[in-house]
Amino acid sequence: MTRFLALRFARALLSIVLVVTFAFVVLRLSGDPALTIMSPEAPPEAIAAFRKAWGLDQPIWLQYLHYFGAIVHGELGVSMRDGRSALTVVTERIPATLMITIPALMLKIALGIPAGITAALHRNTLRDRLLMAGAVAGFTVPSFVLGLLLVLVFAVRLGWLPSGGDERWSSAVLPVLTLGLGGAGILARFTRSAMLEVLGQPYIRTASAKGVPWRLVVRHHALPNAAIPTVTVVGFMIGSLIAGAVVVESVFSWPGVGRLLVVAVANRDLAVVQCILLLVSATMVMANLIVDLLYGVLDPRLRVSTAAAH
């Protein structure tokens, strides 16, 4: 088990290092932060001074070494536009993002999983078709279209909810709905597929043949076995809690990490972008790790096979 965990952690760490390295190289090759932050009208001397002040005049490999050295010491750099620690700039935006992504995740689970199960249990009926049509619509309509549609109906026409901002609790409703409905559609599709696959298995037929009531067959045999692919998708959704709302935050002027990322990339605020990517990749990797561990809990065969392999 220790070896299993150590391997998973090492892989997780490598993933984070690769993501950060990739972001570091791409950001520096795709534009000069000095010119972007200072504006093209800034005098060349000021731009040169800016580059020097931020170490951008050094070779890229040296900048990379300095950056990683700093990370090892727990320093994620200073925002070029803000003058404060990049970590502070990013962490103060996280609560706002979680305020919409966590309820949205709950909405996805609350709507998506029951819808998927219901559709599977009523395969090829009108109910199945209606639910799946809704699910397909949910995840194929781009979030900015869905968001604007909801604003048009609930804010402009009915005047029930604010169209954006974060001043009131009700401001979160439309962003949560936008995020939640799209994700619920994805989850419903996955759950339905997983359930259909399980329902076709011999052990389901056996259980039914033994006279076990159908609801018990579903609860004790179908649902646990169908949970693994669903948990995988939910794991990805948990991984994207921090930066999964870039478009929605822009549409609703929600001051979260997603909007910060857009602004930071546009301005080549390197430390902030790298800090966000580091946090996002760490969250994603951690979520995957938890999902891996959950597999063992949900399906004892996986624990046994892992133990046998080691």
Binding site: S39, P44, A46, S163
Partner: protein, 542 residues
Amino acid sequence: MPRIGRRGAIGLAASAAALPRFAIAQADTRPVVTVAVQKISNSNTLDCLREQSNVGTRMAAMYTERLIDLNYQSKLEPVPGLATEWRRIDDRTVEFTLRPNVRMHNGDLFSAEDVAASFSPQRMFGDTRPSVQGKTLPLSGNIVTMTASKDLPREIPPVARRLWPAFDRVEIVNAQTVRFVNATPDVTIEGRASARGSDIVSGRAFSEAASWLDYARKPVGTGPYRIVEFKPDQSLTLEAHDAYWGGRPPIRQLRLVEVPEVPSRVNGLLAGEFQFACDIPPDQIADIEKNPAFEVQGSLVPNHRLTTFDKHHPQLADPRIRLAMAHAIDRQSIVESLWAGRTRIPAGLQWEFYGRMFVTGWTVPEFDQQKARALVKAAGYKGDAIPYRLLNNYYTNQVFNAQALVEMWRAVGLNVQIEMKENWTQVFERTPTRAVRDWSNSAVFNDPVSSIVSQHGPNGEQQQYGEWENAEMNRLSLELETSTDWDRRHAIFARLLQICEREDPAYTVLHQNAVFTAKRKDIRWKVAPSFAMDFRAQNWGA
């Protein structure tokens, strides 16, 4: 007559003491106004030198003011601001009489000390000297950039020197009188004093700020509204400065919120959450005005859109090709199709508010395809590609405009190829493929040195990036900056237009830029001919 006992009298007195305050608080029925903008500040600061962008200009005059103000309800002509009057002492010196009894946002009385502090090396010029005209702006010293220290960021002195290249010192004559002394003769000292960048802040607040960034996030000025809170990339909250010298501000709280998406700004306006939505593209105007409760006010601003040339590109080395490109452009079509006719074609790189320096009769090269074809033929152009480096709508309608231009150039035999670029670094990159790009030029005060010299002269961006230079232009630019002979200056400016727009084209002007602000129709408010928004009493009624 009812009798009032001792206890009753005490109670009545207590009520009397409490009631008026409550009544006063309740009486403040002034509205809270929310303005949705695409961006509040590009630099994440509110310092007038660090934040020189158009978006930063929008609300700046509401919290800091200059000695000479601009008439935002007319044609931006100079009007008394924090100075009630000014007079020339000699060709290098202007004396300002300061407005008395002006209360700053921190409660201090505005004085000559604040002017001196605002124009001090610590706030504006660093260790630069007033000897930079015609030369590269010098920078030295251990000054850092945008950190939480007290030091002046390195980019501030060059910006300050661009506006005040030969500023020497402020002399305090007495508490209500100051003199601006220039190192060289300059007839534009008054104009420079009215430009953004010459804003006056509290000397005490500046020196007491824990860091430069703390000051720059909350400058203490004299404007009608004081800064309550600035959340970078999110919102700016101002509240009425009731001791404002120009009268009680009409709005209790003025809030700018950053809403990056156009549809979100429009929806918020229609839903009643915003009273104003700024940065509206021309193609949205008709849709908004379908609702009779709303209107879109357009305003021409002192900023022109240009196509800029790199004369060192082999296909553009012959000035006849650049002139042909200028003659090939049907500007009226661009104005009508992309701007719904709500802007205009200006008379070259100049504005009417130049006053006596305006060159009457000057025009942009006329749309004449025959002339353009003749020039192309005379230059011996063989059809080689002319690259056009283009950003994705950094300017309003930029991509549509570029596509239209390419077709217009194709019609006269020029093979211009668009190359999409992601950022300005790629646009400016000094490689053999740099030839044509987009730009816009502003006039920050009412004299051509603020535009044609500042942007195309020896210290202008085009020359600094090595796209274009002209010896006569450089010689005349310096003379225009220092001459005190108005007739001579006018002749020089006319000659500069001739050089830059006809003989050796550095650029060609396409159209004047305009800003569009959507608002509730029942609010009496008039958009200014500027990026600035005016929320003072004389421009408000609901």
